[in-house]
């Protein structure tokens, strides 16, 4: 006797046959999908920095519609092979005096630190090969200076007059105090230009690559948060701990 099962068991086994799902069509689909997705996989993230047309000749002061006594800032950063020169038309920099011991037009010299210079090129990107060039431009010092300019009191009323919301409603231009004019020398590498744009864009709090934690806590404080413009979409920057400094870049024709 080959079958030792009881009649009742035999009946049950007939009704509970194992159902095998045919997975082959699904496997075919997977085999097609995976090479396609592998081809479009993204290994590096790209981003963009906005800039407007370079001004040929003298930078034009923008039409500030606000009727107040705050002088326009026109923050201009000259980039030379000796460092940065920060200038502006407002009293905060004292540049209207045209030099002298009381002139606060500030120069940021180059930094002679191999570790720092390698970091400024790669900024923590593991795939980047630093071209160690020392001395290099001191973006950290420039950032501290720019934060001070942003917090400055333009008209002597004791308030930070240049802290404005840089995310205006759709279709409207940002206030002039959100602009920075870059005036590089012709021989300055493009990478340095991007470094200056990074240093002047925003305060990122403790994740800021230019500042130590204690500096970030001291400098990127809530005095840099402007009131929201009604109707503005806002990019949620303030929620992330970002504080706008000068996010709109105008590249000028060069200082030589």
């Amino acid at each position: 006797m080959s079958n030792h099962k009881k009649p009742s068991d035999r009946r049950r086994s007939r009704t509970q046959d194992e159902v095998t799902l045919n997975l082959l069509p699904f496997m075919n689909l997977m085999t097609l999908l995976i090479p396609f997705l592998l081809a479009s996989i993204q290994f590096v993230s790209l981003a963009v920095i906005d800039s407007s047309l370079p001004a040929i000749g003298q930078p034009q002061p923008s039409d500030d519609k606000e009727k107040d006594d705050t002088p326009p800032l026109n923050l201009t950063i000259g980039i030379t092979d000796e460092g940065f020169t920060v200038a502006g038309s407002a009293k905060v920099l004292g540049c209207e005096k045209g030099g002298g011991p009381n002139d606060k037009c500030t120069a940021v010299p180059l930094k002679n630190d191999t570790g720092y210079c390698g970091d400024t090129v790669c900024k923590g990107n593991p795939n980047c090969v630093p071209t160690n060039v020392t001395p290099c431009h001191d973006f950290a010092e420039l950032k501290k200076l720019v934060i001070q300019v942003k917090k400055a009191d333009g008209n002597g009323d004791g308030e930070a007059d240049y802290v404005k919301n840089c995310s205006p409603p759709e279709g409207e231009a940002p206030p002039e105090v959100c602009n920075v004019i870059l005036a590089p020398n012709p021989e300055i590498p493009y990478g340095v230009l991007v470094g200056v744009m990074d240093a002047t864009r925003s305060c990122r709090g403790q994740s800021d690559p230019h500042l130590t934690d204690s500096e970030a806590a001291e400098l990127c404080d809530d005095s840099l948060v402007a009131q929201a413009v009604p109707g503005a979409e806002g990019d949620g920057g303030a929620d992330k701990g970002d504080r706008d400094l000068f996010p709109y870049v105008v590249v000028a024709g060069g200082v030589k």
Partner: protein
């Protein structure tokens, strides 16, 4: 002599575990699927700078300044040698072959905008090698300005403190 019985066993491959692996790979690949509008071809002549900007790229006319050539939408338009364009290709600050290529791209973009009933935005994506001197970038920006591109978007690698 008793007749020997031959056992005919249906050989069936169990692919359930393979399916599990495939599903995990599929989810991982879908997560890293690139939906960006621009493609870059990294080479030793085009090393983009790293920036802390996190603004995503948008679809626009694409100009690339590498150490060997200036390219518009994938077509080489002028050669670069020693980080500058030859004098025969320039008229003052204007790079003439680049101007012609950008003008054609602008006309095409305007025609596309007219058919879709939108406005030509004059946007230009600029991919520049990080060691290119500003003088060349400025010439390209000036030429692009003459070809009615007024809004520049510098393409960078995302990084540097989030």
């Amino acid at each position: 002599m008793p007749k020997r019985r031959t056992h005919e066993v249906d050989a069936e491959l169990n692919i359930t575990s393979l399916m599990d692996i495939m599903t995990i790979i599929l989810v991982f690949l879908l997560k890293s699927y690139s939906t960006e509008d621009i493609q870059i071809a990294p080479s030793e002549n085009l090393l983009l700078p790293v920036s802390s900007s996190d603004k995503p790229p948008e679809l626009a006319v694409n100009a690339v300044i590498s150490k060997v050539a200036i390219t518009v939408d994938g077509v080489d338009v002028v050669m670069v040698s020693g980080n500058q364009v030859g004098d025969q290709d320039k008229r003052g600050t204007l790079i003439t072959p680049l101007f012609d290529a950008l003008k054609a791209a602008a006309d095409q973009a305007k025609a596309n905008a007219a058919t879709t009933n939108t406005k030509f935005n004059g946007r230009l994506l600029l991919q520049c090698d990080r060691e290119i001197p500003f003088s060349l970038v400025r010439e390209v920006m000036y030429t692009a300005g003459q070809a009615q591109f007024a809004e520049f978007k510098f393409v960078v690698y995302q990084g540097g403190g989030g």
